[in-house]
C-alpha cells in the first residue's frame, strides 16, 4: 500500500512539474490570436504596445522567466510556472489572467509553443526550489522575519525599512531597463501573489534578470536557511496594509466633526481616529499629453471639520522624494526631475441634480476648484496654487490667501502626507465651494511623481468620489425607535388579549 502511494505521489509530482504534452501547432494558433498584440509575432516583446507598457511585454526569445520555482541557478522554468502566468496573469502589469477565456488545453499548448521562442523545448529543469519544512505564520515567525529583513540591510537595502520600495539606488535589469524594488505593503502588485509560499519562492530563486538575488545561493554573503526564508516570507506577507486597500464600495470620504481647533500637522494623533478611504489612482489617459507609465497607484484620504474649517489629509506611497536641484534625488530620477505634487478637485457649487462638472478639470458650464500643492525644490519651499478650471487647459490662477486655503506636506520612508485646509465658507461665495454639513460633495484627486517624468498633464488621477461632512445625529433615532417598539408591543398584546378573550367568552 505504501509503495502504491509513493508511486502515485511521484507520478503526481512528475506530471505537475515536468512536461505536460502540449500541441505546438494549436499553441501557435492561440498565440497568434491572443498574444501577438503585446508579445509580437516573433515572441520578442516587440509590438505596437511595447513603448507604452511598464513593465514591457516579456521577450520570450530571451529565455528568461522572472517568476519561477526551479533552482536559482537553473534558467529553465517549470511548465507549471509558465502555465500559471498565463492562467492567472501578472498582477500589477497589463498581463491579465486568461483562464476565463482559454481552456486548460489551450494554455498548456501555449506553454509548449512559448518555450520554442527561447529554444527551451527540449530542456528539463535540473533543480527545484527546496521548501524545507514550511513554517506557518505566527507573531514569533514574523518578528524573526523582521529581524532578518533589517539585519545587515539584507532586504531593507532596496525595499526600505518599512518595505515600501523607497530605498532605490537607480536599479537596472539585464537589458538596461529601469526596475524598482517592489513596495511590499501593496500585495496586489506582487507578480506571483503574496502567499507565503510564493514569497518564499521569490526569496529562494530571486527574480532572474533583475537585481533581486537568490538568498538560497550558498555562495551569497546574505544566504539564508530555509527556515529563515519562511520567517521573511511570513514577515513580508504581514506588511500588507489592511486599512489602505481599495474597496469598491467605499466611495464616500466621511469627515467627522471636531470641537475646537482642527489638526494642523500631518502626524496629529486625531487623524488616526478618522476613517480612511482609499482610491485607485489611474494615469491621465484622456487628454493630450496622455500618460502611460505611472508609479503611484493609490491615494488614501481622511477628513475632519469643525464649526469653521475643514481639513483633509492625503496620503500616498511614492518611492522617490523628488527634489529638483538635489544631487541624490536627481541621480535616481528620470531626466528632468520635477517636484512631487498632489491636487484636490471640487465643484464650485454643490450639484443639485445629478449633473457635475466634467471630471477632467470641469467644463465650460461647470467650474471646478483645484488646490494644487507642490513639494518644493532646493531653491524654493513647498507651495500651493489655487486654480479655477473650466476644462483641460482652461485654467484661471488665483491667490490661495484670498480664501485662506493652506497646505503642508511631509515625506517619510516612502510615503507622502499632505494636509490641506480651508474655512468652510468663503467670500465671495460664487468662486469657491461652500462646504455644508450633510451634503454629498463631489471630490477628485490627482498626484504627480516628479521623478517619474510626471509634470503637467502627465499625472495620475481619480474619478469623482464623494466628500461628506457627517452631521451630528442627536438622539432622535433612539427615541423614535423606543416609541415604535412600545407601540408595536402594545398593539400585539391588545390583539392577543382580544383574541383569546373572545374565545373564552364564546
Amino acid at each position: 500500500m505504501r509503495h502504491l502511494l509513493a508511486i502515485a505521489a511521484s507520478l503526481l509530482i512528475t506530471t505537475n512539474v515536468w512536461a505536460k504534452p502540449g500541441n505546438v501547432d494549436n499553441g501557435k494558433a492561440v498565440y497568434e490570436q491572443r498574444c501577438v498584440w503585446c508579445h509580437g509575432v516573433d515572441g520578442d516583446g516587440e509590438s505596437a504596445a511595447t513603448e507604452r507598457l511598464n513593465p514591457p511585454p516579456r521577450d520570450f526569445s530571451s529565455a528568461q522567466y522572472k517568476i519561477k520555482t526551479t533552482g536559482f541557478d537553473d534558467i529553465v522554468p517549470n511548465d507549471k510556472d509558465v502555465y500559471r502566468m498565463i492562467a492567472k496573469g501578472m498582477p500589477g502589469t497589463a498581463m491579465p489572467g486568461w483562464d476565463d477565456l482559454l481552456n486548460e488545453q489551450d494554455m498548456w499548448d501555449l506553454v509548449a509553443y512559448l518555450k520554442i521562442f527561447g529554444g527551451m523545448e527540449e530542456e528539463v529543469p535540473s533543480q527545484q526550489v527546496d521548501y524545507g519544512t514550511p513554517i506557518p505564520s505566527s507573531p514569533e515567525s514574523i518578528a524573526k522575519g523582521r529581524e532578518l529583513f533589517l539585519d545587515d540591510e539584507r532586504c531593507s537595502e532596496c525595499h526600505g525599512e518599512d518595505g515600501k520600495g523607497d530605498a532605490s539606488k537607480g536599479l537596472k535589469d539585464d537589458n538596461g531597463e529601469r526596475t524598482w524594488p517592489r513596495n511590499l505593503t501593496k500585495p496586489w502588485t506582487f507578480r506571483g501573489s503574496n502567499d507565503p509560499k510564493d514569497i518564499y519562492s521569490r526569496i529562494s530563486v530571486g527574480i532572474p534578470g533583475t537585481q533581486m538575488p537568490s538568498f538560497a545561493d550558498p555562495t551569497s554573503k546574505k544566504k539564508l536557511s530555509a527556515d529563515e526564508r519562511w520567517h521573511i516570507a511570513n514577515y513580508v506577507q504581514s506588511l500588507a496594509k489592511a486599512t489602505e486597500v481599495v474597496r469598491a464600495k467605499n466611495t464616500v470620504i466621511k469627515a467627522d466633526k471636531l470641537a475646537g481647533e482642527l489638526p494642523t500637522t500631518v502626524d496629529d494623533p486625531r487623524w488616526q481616529q478618522s476613517e480612511a478611504t482609499t482610491f485607485f489612482l489611474v494615469p491621465q489617459l484622456i487628454a493630450k499629453d496622455r500618460f502611460f507609465k505611472p508609479s503611484n497607484d493609490t491615494i488614501t484620504v481622511r477628513a475632519l471639520y469643525s464649526d469653521s474649517e475643514i481639513s483633509l489629509l492625503l496620503e500616498w506611497d511614492d518611492r522617490t522624494h523628488s527634489i529638483p536641484g538635489d544631487e541624490k534625488a536627481e541621480k535616481i530620477s528620470d531626466p528632468d526631475i520635477a517636484e512631487d505634487a498632489v491636487a484636490i478637485q471640487l465643484p464650485i457649487h454643490i450639484p443639485e441634480g445629478m449633473e457635475k462638472p466634467y471630471f477632467g478639470m470641469g467644463d465650460a458650464a461647470n467650474t471646478v476648484n483645484i488646490w494644487h500643492w507642490r513639494s518644493g525644490s532646493t531653491e524654493k519651499s513647498e507651495s500651493l496654487a489655487l486654480l479655477n478650471g473650466r476644462g483641460f487647459g482652461e485654467i484661471a490662477q488665483r491667490d490661495p490667501a484670498e480664501i485662506g486655503v493652506e497646505a503642508t506636506g511631509q515625506y517619510q520612508k516612502g510615503t507622502w502626507k499632505v494636509l490641506m485646509k480651508r474655512p468652510l465658507a468663503t467670500t465671495p461665495i460664487d468662486k469657491d465651494i461652500q462646504f455644508v454639513e450633510g451634503a454629498f460633495i463631489p471630490i477628485a484627486f490627482a498626484a504627480w511623481d516628479g521623478s517619474n517624468s510626471e509634470t503637467g498633464s502627465r499625472h495620475t488621477m481619480t474619478t469623482w468620489y464623494w466628500l461628506l461632512l457627517k452631521p451630528a445625529t442627536g438622539n432622535k433615532p433612539l427615541i423614535t425607535a423606543l416609541l415604535m417598539a412600545l407601540l408595536i408591543a402594545g398593539i400585539l398584546f391588545w390583539w392577543a388579549r382580544g383574541a383569546t378573550g373572545n374565545k373564552e367568552g364564546s
Binding site: 491572443r34 503585446c38 489611474v282 489617459l285 445629478m354 433615532p477 425607535a481 415604535m484 417598539a485 408595536i488
Partner: protein
Amino acid sequence: MKMPRLLQAVLVVVGIYAGFILVFDYLLGQVIPSSLLSMYMFFVIAGVFMVYTYTEESARELVAPIKALVEDPGKKRLRNVVFIIVPLLVAGFTYQRMSPSFEAPVELRSIHPAPPATVKAYGKRFNLATLENPFRQYEKSDPDKFRALVREGGDIYIQNCQYCHGDKLDGRGPYAAGLNPTPLNFQDVGTIAQLQESFLFWRIATGGPGLPKEAAPWISSMPVWQDFLTEDEIWKVILFLYDYTGRRPRSWEHE
C-alpha cells in the same frame, strides 16, 4: 407533508432577495445600491402577497399560522417570545432607518443612449442611419486585405484602448478598477453585438463629452478619439472589436 403557505411565501421573498445579491454583487461584480434593491423588493413582496391572497381561502391559509399563534392558548410561551422579538426588530429597523446612512447617492445613467440622427466629428456631419464601415465590404470581396485591416485595428487597440477595456476586451484593463463608470465589456452579448458600427463610430469619435446628458457625460472616461485617431483608424479598431470577440455588428438589412 405540505409546507405551510406562510413559510412558502417567506421563502420565495428571501430566495429572490438572495438571487439579487448573488447576481449583482457576486456574478456581475456590481454592488446593487440598497435604495434600488429596496424598491425592487417592495414590488416583489407586493407581488407575492397578491399571489398568495388571490382567493379568500388562500388568504385564510396564509394567515392561519399567525392566527393560531395569537389565539391558541397552547402556544403561549412561543407567543410571548415572538411578542418580545417583533417589537425589538421594529425598534432596530427604525433606529437604522432614522440614523443617517452616509451611503453615496445612486446615479442612474443610460448606458446605450439613443444616438442622434447626425453627428459632428472631424469638422463634418455624419448621418448615423446611413453611415457604414468603409472596410466591412472587404470581408467578402478581399479576405486577405480584410485580415490585414483587422490586424492594424488590433495594433491601434492595444496601443490606445487596452488600458481600460483590457487585452481580452472584457472591460477589465489594468486601470478599469479606478474608473466609474467601468469600461464597457465588448465580450458581453449586450454591448457591441446589439449595436451598429455607426453607433460605435459615434461613441469612439466624440467620446465621453459627446454623450447626451442622460448618459452622464461628466463622469465618462472615454477620450474624444477624433483628437487622436483618424477616421480610418477608428473604422479599423471597430473591425477588430467584432473580429476578436466573434460578434457581428447589427445591421439594418436583417431587421
